[in-house]
Every structure is written in C-alpha cells, then in structure tokens.
Amino acid sequence: MKHILFALMLGLAPLAVTAGEAQPTNNDPALEKRVMALSAELRCLVCQNQSLADSHAELAIDLRNEVRDMMKSGKSDAEVVDYLVARYGDFVRYRPPMNTTTALLWFGPLILAVIGAGVLFFNLMKRRRRVAETALTDEERKRAAALLNDGAGETKA
C-alpha cells in the first residue's frame, strides 16, 4: 500500500512542478493587452533602441514577466513604472519625466521656435523700415510713370 502511494506521489510530482511555471500568455487577453501596452512605453535596457514589448532579449522577457506578475497582483500602471524607474532610472521610460536634466529636452524645441520667430520678426521689421525710408527721386518717379503708362518706352532706349 505504502509503495503504491509512493509511486502515485512520484507520478504526480511533475504536475506540481509545472504548476509554478509561467502560464501561457494568451490565458488572459485583457491582462496581456495591458502588459504589452505598458511594455511599449518602456525601454529595453539591453537593446536600448527597442521597447520592452519589441525586444526578445532575455532581460526584456524577465521584465515583461515582472510587469505581468505585478499587474496580476493588482498594481497600477504607475506603480509598475515607479518600480522599474527605482531600479533602472528614468531611462527605462520612453516618455521622460520633466526635471532639471530633461528640461532642455522638453523646452529645447520651444526655445528654438521662439528664437526663430524672434529673428523672423526682427528681420521683417528691418525690411519694413527700409521700404518706408526709400523715397523716390523726381527722376525715378518720371521713369516709373513712363514704364507704367507705356511699357515699350523705356526698354527700347
């Protein structure tokens, strides 16, 4: 009897082992969608120009599993991001937060636009002044009138 029980337990052992393995990913489509959506916002640290969702690097797979586990245990997206930022830094986020080191990144384009608009405005003002200041002499006025009245007149001369 003892032996049979032992054999039975031995036979059941593999089931206990597999129970702890990662579940198939299509188990919960809603969760999986959430994992992939958030992963697309996170950078893979190994291949730094890929998102966690794109990457097949082993660390990316581990981190996706970590994200999935945290979501399963009821953590919000923000909590998951905070968890990763605490370990890997802001670099892990594709949308960098605003702080002193990223201020130039955020405001750089705006500063450039302001400078561009300033230069444009300045040049336009300068041109307008120049146009306003240019008065015609009597001679030029006569020539202009001739050209306007009789297109052929001046060009033949």
Binding site: L45, V46, Q48, L59, E66, V85, R87, Y88, G89, D90
Partner: protein, 180 residues
C-alpha cells in the same frame, strides 16, 4: 569684410564636431552605460544560497562593517572572462573583498567556470532567476557595485572592470570609504 552671420553655420558645425569628439573618444562601453538610480541608496536586501555551500545563505547584512564589491557574473558571460584576471589580481592583493552575484546561471556551469579560471570571490550568491538582479538594476553582466560599511551603494561599474577603472576609480573610492 566677412559678415558674422556667415560664420554661424561654421560655429554650429564646430559645436556638433565637439559633441562627436567627446562622445566617440569615451572608452568602449561607457557610452551605453546608464547612470544607476541606486547610487547612494541602501543596497537592496536579498537572501540567496551560496554557490559552493548550497545550504548556507548570503545576505548583504553579512558584509556589514566593511567596504566590499558585489560583482555580477555568469559563466555564459563573455565579458566576465575579460575582467576575470583583473578580479583575480585584486583578490590576491586582498585590498577589498569581492562577493559574486552569480546571475542566471546553472550551478554546475558556474562551479566549473571558477574551477577552470580561478575563484576571486569570497563567495558567490546564486541568483538563478535573476530577481535579485532586477532589484539591483542589472541589465547585463558584468556589473560591479562598490558598497560601503553601512551597506550603501556608492558606485556602479557597468561592463568589464579594466585595470584602469580599478586603479583610477574603484580602489581610490574604496580607500576613501575605508577611512569613514
């Protein structure tokens, strides 16, 4: 007279060249190295089985009171082999204890690796699934942490430790931390 505004494109060009010059002259690996948010924070706690004594555990508290290095390594990691002679020499010199974090490796592979190349570690803690690695922000072995007497991470070196990095950065820092 050459007008100043015609020199502007040249100026911009020189600035760009300057950026390239500085970036491209950095030694290999440091360009991709990310600053760790864990610097000056307490080293994350863990309790892992030791490689050579599977029944005994290691936790960072065990190293409390001394300045130590935590070196993340694995037998599959090619760059670990590159830094290995440097660690061996450091271990022989006895300047600072090196603890290994054996990252996502098979026990027998790790043991064989150390038997073959030599063991610079006081002990290695086995992080089979890489969970502790995630807590430490590990994103590629080898990585080396300098941890002070109070268990605070003071420095992180990403990539193989070169003799240069050891002598110019890590050891001076260790000496400074020893004093405090």
């Amino acid at each position: 007279m050459l007008r100043l505004r015609f020199l502007l494109p040249l100026g911009i060009f020189l600035v760009v060249v300057g950026f390239f010059f500085v970036t491209l002259r950095q030694p290999e690996g440091t360009r991709e190295a990310l600053p760790s948010p864990l610097i000056n924070k307490a080293a994350p706690d863990f309790r892992l089985a030791q490689l050579h004594e599977p029944n005994q555990f290691f936790t960072p508290a065990d190293a409390r009171g001394k300045v130590w290095l935590l070196n993340v390594w694995a037998s599959w990691c090619v760059s670990c082999r590159q830094e290995h002679p440097v660690l061996m020499e450091l271990s022989r010199a006895g300047l600072v204890p090196i603890y290994g974090l054996n990252y996502k490796d098979k026990r027998e592979d790790s043991a064989n690796w150390l038997a073959q190349f030599g063991n610079p570690y006081v002990l290695s803690a086995v992080d089979g699934d890489g969970r502790v690695g995630i807590d430490y922000g590990v994103y590629g072995a080898p990585e080396t942490y300098v941890i002070d007497k109070k268990g605070v991470i003071r420095y992180k070196h990403i990539g193989p430790v070169s003799a240069d990095a050891l002598n110019n950065k890590i050891l001076p820092l260790v000496q400074e931390l020893e004093k405090s």
